[in-house]
Symmetry: C2
Subunit: 340 residues, 2 copies
Amino acid sequence: MTQKGITLKDVAAAAKVSRATAARALNSYGYVGDETALRVLEAAERLGYRANLVAQALRSGQLPIVGFVPGDIQNPFFARIAHDIEVELRKHRHNLLIASSEENVEQEKELLESLRSLSIRGFILAPTSATDNQHIVQLAHEGAPVVLIDRVVKELQCDSVVVDNEGGAREAVDYLVSNGHDRIGLLRDDSRIFTAQERLAGYQNSLQSHGIALDESLISVARSTVEHAVDATIRLFSRRNRPTALFTVDSLMTQGALLGLRSMGLSIPHDVSLVGFDDFNLATFTDPQITVVAQPISEIGPLAARFLLERLAGKKIAPRHIRFPTRLIVRGSVAHLRGR
Amino acid sequence: MTQKGITLKDVAAAAKVSRATAARALNSYGYVGDETALRVLEAAERLGYRANLVAQALRSGQLPIVGFVPGDIQNPFFARIAHDIEVELRKHRHNLLIASSEENVEQEKELLESLRSLSIRGFILAPTSATDNQHIVQLAHEGAPVVLIDRVVKELQCDSVVVDNEGGAREAVDYLVSNGHDRIGLLRDDSRIFTAQERLAGYQNSLQSHGIALDESLISVARSTVEHAVDATIRLFSRRNRPTALFTVDSLMTQGALLGLRSMGLSIPHDVSLVGFDDFNLATFTDPQITVVAQPISEIGPLAARFLLERLAGKKIAPRHIRFPTRLIVRGSVAHLRGR
DNA sequence: TCGCGATGTGAGATCGATCTCACATCGCGA
DNA sequence: TCGCGATGTGAGATCGATCTCACATCGCGA
């Protein structure tokens, strides 16, 4: 009711000037007489005028909206990042539009298509695929600033904020080895391919550096959901010569492993040692608490948002690639095997 | 690069017709010759034409965007709902813009202000305050459809989707009483005032119906974060004559209680019985698992989205108020006290 | 054969904000 | 006193899609 339909035209009429002059007064550009400007501002105030952002966007070609396409907004990792991005954007009067790809490349393509026609200013993406990324390359070439988080696209040069997955995984496995383990299972996913590959590499590199032969049968692959991880865990530990330790590549996998092991009556760390990638609230509620590789999650969102805002402000510098180190948080889920 | 700047004008030129005819062919209205229509569609296809939604919005006054203002997107409850809403909207070619109020009325007001100038089509809100809601009433009166979730606004008649907080809380406390408890602590929050009040009422009503006098000293109030809940729990259980059971009003409170009790060396259910409002993944990972009042969380988002879409489609019926029942999930965190 | 409804198309207006261009006035230095 | 830069303002174009209105043609029934 109140300010419905108050346009610049109304303000101009109330101040008895043209729309051009009203615009000049409100946006402080060009020449405007002091007394005139005052009259316009006063009229705008009185009528409760608010510029129509859609009209502005039609002229400028851009809405003050940034698109965020995470793998899954329900994943606490992305929920936290979404929140941080939104806070940062809000400071610069931008809005955040979230569209979850649900780790599905086809859906990711469709989402980007539809966001494109919204004339969105820029994008923060966590690409689902490690290989099928032509649509993202194309998006970037059309001029919309793109910042990648969590995962990079090899063919595309743009700002990115990721985590040292290889190093984190290596540190986790090193820690297990240093506690006497050499039959170390790996529970990895097939969807977040980029990070999964890096974490797999860290696992392999650690084993190799300690002269432990890679045993493919200790690696179990599952879709990144708690349910699938439970099954994969049970499969892995139903084998005759089962692993003495398990490394899980993300927090959903870790949760699945916890449930799977419990259902098999295997206790942690007595029967199996466990280290997970990605810290999560649950890790400190279990008994024992779970040892994890923590990501600096609170830094990713704000930095990605800042990078994007700088690009939107026209900053022209070489793409920045930030790779945060991880941190091993030792709790109680790893047993020391002696004599083995 | 590709379809940058392909407008209706380009399509019309390529098909050698006017913009008006091109629009008619593409949007299937008015009279267009079959052969002409085909030529236009073919040209649009070939050029990769995509209608500019901003321009459409300027005419229609509305962008295909719905705003969602939850209390906190990091809360898994709202993250899940956000996800469900997005999926539902996407089916109808609408986008979801998420702006978290962080349980702060002032921020909620600012967010709505800024979303308003975006010409957003409708809103799904979880109002932060139980009393200060004039801005929401005003928003609704300006004509934008509003659907409330989780919490209602007494002064406003509009669609709402909430949960039977009073009944759920009553059932939880009834269950504790039926297990012989009569000194039952309550850990409640001060921010989500609407739900908190209802849950408090359920607690009071249950006690009253069993003839148990209300003891204000058994009620502890804290901000709805894990940290504050830990403190409040410790405060409550440091008293001489401590409660034999505790009811917590949301999952963050429940987590805080778990940590607080553990830090005091109190074991569940041996020393204290516990029932929490709101189920959460962690509740099944603890030992024992936590008995909770579960909300039908998977129904809230889709229903709210459907209500809003119906309003956007022009449906004119009386506001619908849906109040879902809750469900008590009995696990292992409540002990039976005999003889007491 | 005439007339009118059905069919088909384009010119131009519109949504709201902003920018360009043209024009008018003022005041100061030569 | 003249002239020109500085100052101030409005008409109208523009962004892109859509809609109204005007106009033209066609074909069928009377």
